[in-house]
Symmetry: C2
Amino acid sequence: MRPCLPLLLVSLVLPSGPALTAADRSPSPAPTVAERLLVRGLEERRAYDILGSLLKAAPSRMSGSPGAAAAVEWGRKTMEELGLETRLEAVTVKAWRRGTAEARILKSPKGGAAVPLAAAGLGNSVGTPAAGITARVVEVNSFDELDALGEKVKGKIVFFNRPMNRTYLNPFRAYGEAGDQRYAGAGRAAVHGAVAVLVRSLTDRLDPHPRTGMMAYPETGERIPALAVSTLDADLLSLRLKEEPDLKVFYRTDCSPLPDAPSHNVIGQITGTEKPEEVILLGAHLDAWDLSPGAHDDGGGCAQVLEALRLIKALDLKPKRTIRGVLFMCEEFGGQGGRQYAQAEARRGEKHLAAIESDAGVEMPLGFGIRADEAVVQAFQKHLPLVETFGMFFIRRGYGGVDIDPLRESGTVTIGLATDAQRYFVYQHGALDTLDKVDERQIELGAAAMAALACALAEEGLPAVP
Amino acid sequence: MRPCLPLLLVSLVLPSGPALTAADRSPSPAPTVAERLLVRGLEERRAYDILGSLLKAAPSRMSGSPGAAAAVEWGRKTMEELGLETRLEAVTVKAWRRGTAEARILKSPKGGAAVPLAAAGLGNSVGTPAAGITARVVEVNSFDELDALGEKVKGKIVFFNRPMNRTYLNPFRAYGEAGDQRYAGAGRAAVHGAVAVLVRSLTDRLDPHPRTGMMAYPETGERIPALAVSTLDADLLSLRLKEEPDLKVFYRTDCSPLPDAPSHNVIGQITGTEKPEEVILLGAHLDAWDLSPGAHDDGGGCAQVLEALRLIKALDLKPKRTIRGVLFMCEEFGGQGGRQYAQAEARRGEKHLAAIESDAGVEMPLGFGIRADEAVVQAFQKHLPLVETFGMFFIRRGYGGVDIDPLRESGTVTIGLATDAQRYFVYQHGALDTLDKVDERQIELGAAAMAALACALAEEGLPAVP
């Protein structure tokens, strides 16, 4: 039978994808800088390779660890190979030893089976006595519930099990709302005499992987250990507790805070031809939690910073103002690298107009979020056509980034690359944040968009606020 | 040392993610239908489970195959379980036998090694003689190049090796431009006396997986076989040809077109309470290429159609007009199911106002594309707030879908769910289109958005064009 040619060709040529954007209308008589960056980036797709190189050189790079030092060395070497003016800036960072962690439901006299729980220390946690702790478990979903129990948690393990609210469109909101358990749960439980805490992992998925992340203790009070437990085992433990409220858990970890350690932020730049002292910063953080290769958080961001600079050099663009890439150390333990960068002696005589950070995962870039007044955000709308060149949709109020936030004190406009975050909490701080989860085109689009915005700001300065 | 509490809390609560949208501002005093669909969808996330169920019931479901019949039965059963008014509509579809395929570079007298090539028959291709073909290979990048060679390809295998243009922002454009080789290459090469064709797989990635897809022969002329070869092996063959232009390839396949076969479109609906004869159609296609589980193409679309209907029922919404889900058969072989649906006797007395198809992969939904005049697209902007509820950005001109396109003849507005397509050609028509590539939240957002738009149109009818 004769196939229906016209329909079939239509199906090849006119599929349901996004409409063509400026960069897809060819031949463009005089492509813009943004279009040239897009084409060059998509042709070469080096951001993915750069990320692969980082993950090979420093697969584990927790702040203060030998792996973090390897990452610094990788950053320095890679920047030099890219022909950037490269240097290290010394910073003092937090350090911590993960050691081992073990949690298991004990076999009960009534016949309940022993079950190991997938658990991992939360960053900054102290350890248990060497012999471990055996104790009953109290499950709570909020600090209010904990405080209402008061003395009843004494001598027990507090199990914080409030899930991330998966009905929010923005998963970061759910993360923010559930994060108090991880961050401050141990301190709050200790007030009532608890001996340790187990915290449901901060992911909106059910899986067997514990997610780590920063916790902190109040200045005063008992310091008790804190382990994250996988969401699957959190559900299991919760079910077992309903059947057998007096079950006991064995809990042991030898994790331990370590003294502050020396490390570096890694800096590579293209110095401005006309106003070298005025800086547009591109930033990401080099450290990553040790349970994770950190492909999205934030190896991918580092790769985008380097790729953005590589593209600018490859096109032989000569920015009037300095475009500087900074790979920050110690974001995960509280942003020490970013704070020390902002306060460093070397900042004297420099003026950072804007800083653009990629630290929300490297999936499809959707826009830029600016932490500034609405008037500034409005003024930035002049760059919307540039942003749309990369298939992105918006410039709006948002958060810049942990590492660049301290620059706001001296008037820098901080800007975050906003990406599709629907999968982000599959990856963050756990074993699933691997290279194969990163798409070559998506990471490249983010890198090229950062390059384009940096070039525009380096050329024109900040848009004038009326 | 005292951790810097305020900064750390900021990093939890205000990350670089997308700005909050309407659905994230809670408590909403009177949530819209769209907001209710969003929340219910994200809470239950059933689209992913429905897709998993399809892939288990009919992991291989090429048009005309026993697997396709299993998919029809799965669709019918699932729709009944969801409480939809369910029926099958008979259609006649194309069928084809893949059989086996083999292509290898032969050991050359000069010492070049024998190398097997990862190859697979293109849908609709005829086979070789049983003993196979041994022939020299001519590489071309376009039909112009082929035609210029003319008689020189006689007795040879033509190797179409033009890659998809990866510099386009919209990968569908690159697909459309490279697709002629796959679709019409065999017919064009036969004109000059070629004995077979090898076609570079239609993906913008380098990997070892051949991608299949539809090809067709002209009404007259020799029918020669067509195999797709993986992009990695296409590059390999191209390199080998540069070293040794007279190398030979052994090429054998027993694939074969089969007689047209009976099958079904699967229909399930919620009948309108006021205007039951007016229909808002939600569509996707049930068939998938047999080399692929078809998770994105288009099992995911089918799951979204079913999930959209499930959500509408779960919220006990009573649409004034009929909302009908159709799982079409035989999209991949030319859209037979869609054409026969549009022309069926059962369409008499029905008026399809709009049809919404999901067939561009089920990654992050970005908007809706409408195949209609600009005035219609403008009128649809009234639904932009609804669309933004799901974190989507636009309603604009675009393509509806192969299956629903024939409905345009009777005035139906066809609408395609537009998704982030950057990774789509990793998956399409090959082994990588598996369930693990689908994200539970992304697929659900698309389903809920389709449900919301269908409900709005069922309630209000088409927006008035000024």
